[in-house]
Symmetry: C2
Subunit: 339 residues, 2 copies
């Protein structure tokens, strides 16, 4: 059915090897020959069989991108950017979702599940970096997000502690004193939440304040944010500002504030983390920590590419920190409401 090198060769009147040279640019070919071959390729609609090429070359041109979920705005946006960055470098992305399940994370890494890839970019949920490294064997790996650092693999991460401190600074600068946090996660050895909590406390300490409350959540989605703010509003001395560890949590909280007649930002300043699209169009718009997502994607793919092609096996893991900024909007009174 599909044309092979052999068919093209027969039609063009040259050897199989020459056709291969033309289509994969591996050797010098006389212009006339090249033209004849190209014509035959065109006529037969020849496309190289990638399975054969992969088998021969020992590479697949695929990289795995492993995320807990893709339907959430944060991971959705990041995944899109990763695909772009990968495409630019000639990779094709194989997307895997773990749903946060540790067993699935493991099976994907050790190769018993899923397809063969040349490398992986993983946003782990529950597996520690050292475990990741051993599971992956020799597979090039870039870890997204933050768990305790491990010497042997590459990380691309934010300065989560610093970002959380900046968030508190933003609230304090706007005169808030009774500040709470939503988004701690005790169950997991999930480092990101812990780092943000750490930064939150540091920021308060620097301002000579103490946390009004720290609310734990089961996940980072809206429903949990809503639940958490309801809880905070029942406290005897409710907060005048809340720092949520994700925009989705903040949007859930925003909804509850509207329900209960709590005015944002007048009665309560609300702040998120991630800078997702929804936050820009919320009413009031959401102040947030904006990581440089393009750079995260760019650096992660670049890093992985170097690992795959380079002789970096012996190199120690690199630690790439991507910048962030506070994006002040209406929910903390940092931007005037339009009209």
């Amino acid at each position: 059915m599909a044309a092979r090198l052999k068919d093209v060769a027969a039609l063009a009147g040259v050897s199989v090897r020459t056709v291969s040279n033309v289509v994969s640019n591996t050797a010098a070919v006389a212009p006339a020959t090249r033209a004849r071959v190209m014509a035959a390729v065109e006529e037969l609609g020849y496309r190289p069989n990638l399975a054969a090429r992969n088998l021969r070359q020992g590479r697949t041109g695929l990289i795995g991108v492993v995320v807990p979920e893709i339907h959430s705005p944060y991971f959705g946006a990041l995944t899109g950017l990763l695909i772009d960055a990968a495409q630019e470098r000639g990779w094709t992305v194989l997307l895997e979702r773990t749903g946060g399940r540790p067993d699935l994370e493991r099976r994907l890494l050790d190769g018993s599940e899923g397809h063969q890839v040349d490398g992986m970019i993983i946003s782990p949920w529950s597996t520690s970096p050292s475990e990741l490294a051993s599971l992956a064997g020799g597979l090039p790996l870039v870890v997204r997000g933050e768990l305790e650092p491990d010497g042997s693999i590459d990380h691309v991460a934010l300065d989560n502690v610093g970002a959380a401190r900046d968030a508190v600074g933003h609230l304090v600068a706007r005169g808030r004193r009774r500040i709470a946090a939503i988004g701690l996660q005790s169950g997991l050895g999930h480092g990101t939440a812990e780092l943000r909590a750490e930064g939150f406390r540091q920021g308060l300490r620097e301002a000579g304040l103490a946390p009004v409350a720290e609310v734990e959540v089961a996940d980072l989605h809206r429903a949990e944010g809503a639940r958490a703010l309801r809880e905070l509003l029942r406290l005897p001395g409710p907060p005048d500002a809340v720092f949520c560890f994700s925009d989705e949590l903040a949007l859930g909280a925003l909804r509850v504030a509207a329900e209960q007649g709590v005015r944002v930002p007048d009665d309560l300043a609300l702040m998120g983390f991630d800078d997702i699209e929804d936050g820009r169009f919320a009413a009031p718009s959401l102040t947030t920590i904006a990581p440089d997502r393009e750079q995260i994607a760019e650096r992660a793919v670049q890093c992985l590419t170097e690992r795959v092609f380079g002789r970096l096996e012996a190199l120690p893991g690199r630690r790439i920190v991507v910048p962030h900024r506070v994006r002040g909007r209406e929910s903390t009174g940092a931007a005037p409401a339009p009209v």
Copy 2:
């Protein structure tokens, strides 16, 4: 480096073929032999080389999912469900974004871009089904969303006309008479918008009404919805209800309503389409048309699987219509605001 069948065979003291029989369950193997082989597999950490398997079997186990974008809530959610449904049937998903670019849509289909897949599920933006079919050649294809029907390929779609009619019905039943639409797209031969416009007009006709306005948009995102509502509010006789062809458009409109002090639903009823997560947590929560997304994903993958394995090449294209329902919430006064 990586263990091969040959290595396992040597260790277990059997032939390569027997090991293959064990790992791929292709023939009866004596329990004792199987145990010996499994032990060797375990010891060497053997994983089958998929490139070789694919080459031999002529199949890759990959299906392509082609969407215009994945960062949007609608496509993000759908893609997640497609990956789930595919995984259940043993497929791995290769995700491709077109960004709505026609040339990229084409290159993906004719195989000159991207990897080799056994089939594709595509949400086309600008390529017509007949063109899709000819580009794909013999590649099994399932088309998502709606363009003019074509006899030879499978479609999985909503009843867009009926759904839009239902939306109008919902607004009319709540006493609205001055109804506008946001979301028409003239530039594209993009069928979905046209079908919803058609249903919108039918619904109004049935109620003996005429459209107050129909606003065109460049895309279906929030910014366009915001722009469109601003435009509508400047009209001499503004509408008392707006049907937006996507939830994102409606959320953009909702934001503008809040900015301009237009009360929703009292002054203006707002309705969307897609039932994305954000709409549930907006204040007010967003009435919408909810397609049965699980079923879309499920049926699309099922359909494709049948095409790949079945002898259905000669079969005419099937047309699968997935049900939807109106989900009444606060933005049309269909659900009381909590507390």
